[in-house]
């Protein structure tokens, strides 16, 4: 008997049934003992209804606290992600960011061009050095030729001196008639002596110049060779550095694009999480409505047990309290899903799922 009451109290869609079936003679039938037992059991059951309502309200409070914590965490995650991404990109869409990206590419290209020009100059200098070395070789060769000419002059001077000596001998034999010839022979001997001295001086100067030119030529050739070698090594090093720089730049671009995509993905995930977390608001409302109805049912049953009119429900409409409860619940509902559940429970209507894309309407 008590079981019947439990069933009807748990489902307040219909009137409280008379435990004695269709017998309308009294609130609990003719069997006083049986009625007392029913009252006792029903009173005992009723006592838990406010507790259940409180339990539901507390559960909803706990769920809301949890949801607030999760939602706050999402907010922190989104903020940190935004800060991280903005730290990398500095708003990647800005003109400055675009200038920076193109600037790096431009810098690499400019550096390559500058390096190319520098190396061209080094190679040009090297070529000029080689030409200078060739000219110095030519000068050296001409100096050697000059040396040979000086040797000829020396030979001429020796012959002139010998001729002068013979002239002096012939002048002495001639006596007074050869005095003038003796003067010419003496002057010729002096000229030959001066010519030999001048030739010797020139040979020494040419020797010194030749040695210096030869040393300078070797030094210039060695320097030109070293410059060419350095230039080639520098070209390889700078090209390697620029290649690495370009590679790092490409990797950074890829990483930035990846970070951008991750940021977009995170925003989508957080958006979906925000939608999912709103279950708490809907559940809170539905449970709130259930709690209110439970409290109304509790009040109504208490009134009936106390012998008074049902409390917590609207006045009976044509003696059909079942309809009153349904209407009261429907008036309280704020969601289509609640109304669909009620309709499905009362008229076995199929529930219709709402299309989430239809949830916005601008007037």
């Amino acid at each position: 008997m008590l079981e019947k009451f439990r069933l009807t109290v748990d489902s307040p869609l219909g009137p409280l049934p008379n435990p004695h079936g269709a017998n309308p003679s009294g609130p609990w039938g003719e069997d006083a003992a049986s009625g007392a037992a029913v009252l006792s059991g029903l009173t005992s059951c009723l006592a838990v209804v406010p507790v259940l309502a409180t339990q539901l309200q507390e559960v909803m409070g706990e769920i809301e606290t949890g949801i607030l914590g999760i939602s706050g965490s999402f907010e922190d995650m989104a903020r940190r992600a935004r800060e991280a991404v903005s730290g990398v990109f500095q708003d990647d869409s800005t003109t400055a960011a675009k200038d920076s990206r193109t600037g790096i590419t431009h810098l690499v290209r400019e550096t390559r061009e500058t390096l190319g020009r520098l190396l061209q100059r080094v190679e040009q200098t090297s070529r000029i050095s080689a030409a200078t070395v060739r000219r110095m070789k030519e000068i050296e060769r001409r100096m050697n030729s000059l040396n040979r000419t000086l040797c000829d002059i020396d030979e001429i001077a020796k012959n002139a001196r010998l001729l002068a000596i013979n002239g002096q001998i012939e002048a002495a034999r001639a006596g007074a008639h050869g005095a003038a010839f003796s003067v010419v022979a003496t002057e010729t001997a002096n000229m030959a002596k001066h010519a030999m001295a001048a030739s010797q001086n020139m040979r020494e100067i040419i020797g010194t110049l030749s040695a210096e030119i030869a040393a300078g030529s070797v030094e210039l050739r060695d320097r030109a060779a070293a410059d060419t070698e350095d230039a080639a090594r520098s070209r390889a090093e700078v090209n390697g550095t620029l290649d690495t720089m370009a590679l790092i730049h490409d990797e950074m671009q890829t990483a930035m694009e990846q970070a951008r995509e991750n940021s977009r993905s995170l925003a989508r995930d957080i958006g979906q999480a925000v939608v999912a977390l709103q279950f708490q608001d809907a559940v809170s409302q539905r449970i709130g409505h259930v709690v209110q109805t439970l409290q109304d049912v509790h009040g109504a049953v208490q009134s009936i047990l106390g012998g008074g009119p049902p409390a917590g429900s609207p006045p009976a409409d044509n003696g059909a309290p079942a309809r009153d409860w349904t209407v009261q619940m429907a008036d309280r509902y704020t969601m289509a899903s609640e109304r669909q559940t009620l309709a499905a429970s009362t008229s076995r209507q199929a529930r219709n799922a709402r299309d989430p894309r239809d949830n916005v309407e601008l007037f």
Binding site: V274, V275, A276, Q280, A282, T334, P356, N359, F363
Partner: protein, 121 residues
């Protein structure tokens, strides 16, 4: 200068999520737990957008909209109803009260921002 949004809902979690979404879009946010509190907080402050729930204690969203529309400074302010209620009759009532649009919960942040972008100039 950033725009200001007034968010009115008795659910702390919904206020938090809407607030988070709008702050991400650059809005300054004022929050109210019911219509009465929202009216009080909006007093004398420039508000560029109102997003309100329908069913709230003390003062519901419909009453709030009517009272806001009665104020000259809110005559052209976009007011969006964000509610679990999806009944056509309620929507028409909201429209008559002066609501700019009606969004049924749960809302998608991206979609909410698209709607806000359409109504806030």
């Amino acid at each position: 200068m950033s725009k200001t949004a007034l968010i009115v809902d008795d659910s702390t979690s919904i206020r938090q999520m809407v607030s988070f979404t709008l702050k991400e879009a650059g809005f300054d946010v004022i929050e109210g737990t019911n219509g009465q509190e929202a009216l009080s907080k909006a007093q004398g402050r420039p508000v560029n957008l109102v997003i309100t729930d329908l069913n709230m204690p003390v003062m519901d969203g419909m009453t709030l909209i009517r009272q806001l529309r009665a104020k000259p400074e809110f005559k052209f302010t976009p007011i969006l109803m964000l509610t679990t209620e999806s009944q056509e009759a309620k929507k028409q009532e909201g429209r008559a009260a002066g609501a700019t649009g009606w969004i049924v919960k749960p809302f998608n942040p991206e979609q909410l921002l698209q709607v806000v972008g359409k109504v806030v100039r």
